[in-house]
Amino acid sequence: MSSTTDSRAADGTRRRRRGPRTWLATLPLLAFTGLCFGIPLGAMAYGAVTRTDPASGATQVTGEHLARSLQGPYLGSLIGSVQLSALTALVGGVLGVVIAQAVVTSRSAGLRSAALTASGVLANFGGVPLAFAFIATVGISGVVTRLADLTSLGWNLYSFTGLTVVYLYFLIPLMVLVIAPALDGLRPQWREAAQSSGATGRQFWRHVGLPVLAPSLLGGFVLLFGTAFAAHATAAALVGGSVPLVTLKIADALSGNVLTGQENVALALGLDMILIAGLVMAIYLPLQRRSARWLR
């Protein structure tokens, strides 16, 4: 919201913004970003495309690691990760919006602050503690599993479905946190104006609500996708190797007790992950720019 007023106020002086002095101010940020992202990225890219012979120490450029990272079980793990992340981001996004809308439109301030605080806590509740909480409640000998006899209903925590449910546990609160401010931005007056012009609720959402929210919704989806895509500890504690995920494969190759000499393939897999994240951003950014027009 504030950015729109800014650009309107600064309309006449827009050219001056690109002056050298503003660039100078961003230099520390750029230097920081360059150091903290550039060096690891460079090291990863270098490791992914080179091979060092252990005996002679000679290094040569090779496409072997990247090729291997896109074959067989490694490719399977990339596909598995994308599937899991897309599914959980989609489901988590939709449910998160519904919950956030319910919280925002309810007139209870207590519910609102309770829901937002809880979301803030739960969105950061991940990793091994979360996995163990789920194992203790709905694992094979979990309390709820035994009370409700979930196993006979076909429930299995240690599967793709189980992992989806666990991921939603922290993705839905994350979506609530991200989308609640945007929902707040939907002025009640707009809805009243639509209603007095004879629009139905569905028409309001179709022509006003969703277009205005679209950038935030897309942003939320991308954030959820990224969180699920990069999650490692929860999945490692829950499913081990039985659901192929790229983060688990990287851990196997990088710090295992079994496979030797796989470090460069792990780096190549890391590079693949960055490419996928970049791809998602490449789809998101133009869409977001297009929908951002509605905010002007």
């Binding site: 252990p54 005996a55 067989g72 079980p73 399977g76 793990s77 163990f132 194992i135 203790a136 694992g139 094979i140 000998s141 196993t151 240690y158 490692a236 504690a237 829950l238 499913v239 081990g240 190797g241 039985s242 659901v243 192929p244 688990l248 851990a251 196997d252 990088l254 710090s255 295992g256 007790n257 079994v258 496979l259 030797t260 000499g261 470090e263």
Partner: protein, 387 residues
Amino acid sequence: MLSSSARRGAAVLLSAAVLTTLTACGAAPDQKSGGADGAKNGVQPGAATSVADFGSLEALAAAAQKEGELNVIALPPDWANYGEIIKAFEAKYKIKVNSENPDASSADEIAAVKSRKGQKRAPDVLDLGIAFARSGAAENLFAPYKVTAWDKIPAGQKDADGRWTNDYGGYVSIGCDAARIPTCPQTFADLLKPEYKGKVALNGNPTKSGSAFGGVYAASLANKGSFADIQPGIDFFGQLKKSGNFIPVESTPATVEKGETPISIDWDYLNAGYADQFKGKGVDWKVAVPTDGVYAQYYSQAINKEAPNPAAARLWLEFLYSAEGQNLWLKGYARPVLLPGMTQDGTADQAAVAKLPQVQGTPAFPASEELDKAKATLAEKWDKALS
């Protein structure tokens, strides 16, 4: 209270005394050995390949004490009794052991050696999975050193140049909570029975965990596989997964205690150790080494070629391969590499030997190429068989 001038005088006297002692300490070994480090014939501790290079064990101990510290990595205190071993070493030689990242993996150890080359906090000694011991030796990361007991270690259990030496090991075993499971499985074939639905776990993912890998290897041997052919083992776990018996949870003491993994395939020394740990906690942990798939594996010791405390590193190895060190491993239910000889000459701790899970016959080990092939097959096929 001393006046300030008196205090200054005392300080001068004190520093003079310290300086004299220091120079005296530094000079003494120089005269005897020609090196500042206590090694005989001018051999640096970092180049010593046996205790003879120091002259005697006492000289080695003196050189190590001068370093005063030993950096170890990836030694969990509850794994093969390492907690007690470290304490015993510290007490015996008055050397401080810096234990870094106890839960690290072999790959982490190698990475630490490479990334901290020349630093004071680089690990001195490593306890590695055999594949990492071999690849590390090929990369020239280890210092060759032959312990006093070198000749008693079977040829298949050591590098000919002494760059690594097997230290302790164990058999793949089936741990089972008899309080929850009416009849405990004794063989791999038993595990397929419908009564074990949703009960059988491995200690981790076999593409990452050494003991889980051993479990698949043993299952292969139980199902007409061989060291060169691990596929029957992968198929066996695929079958277990289909029947619903296999659960992919990584078994830990916590999951065992909660009853989440009532049957766990793991090294016998870990399973036997759990039995002690769980006594009085409602878990009756029984250990069986399956007769249809006998597979043993040993870990290896190696010294970092650029160890910051080279003498302490060599003393640590001498300690581990002494009867005292070997018996401490034995106390942790691990089978030390010198056990056969120690049983014969009577130095083995008989009570500890009696507590080991019973195994028939002598262990056989896969050749390097067979191991590589099995790993490649596993990495390729495990995901598909289990998903």
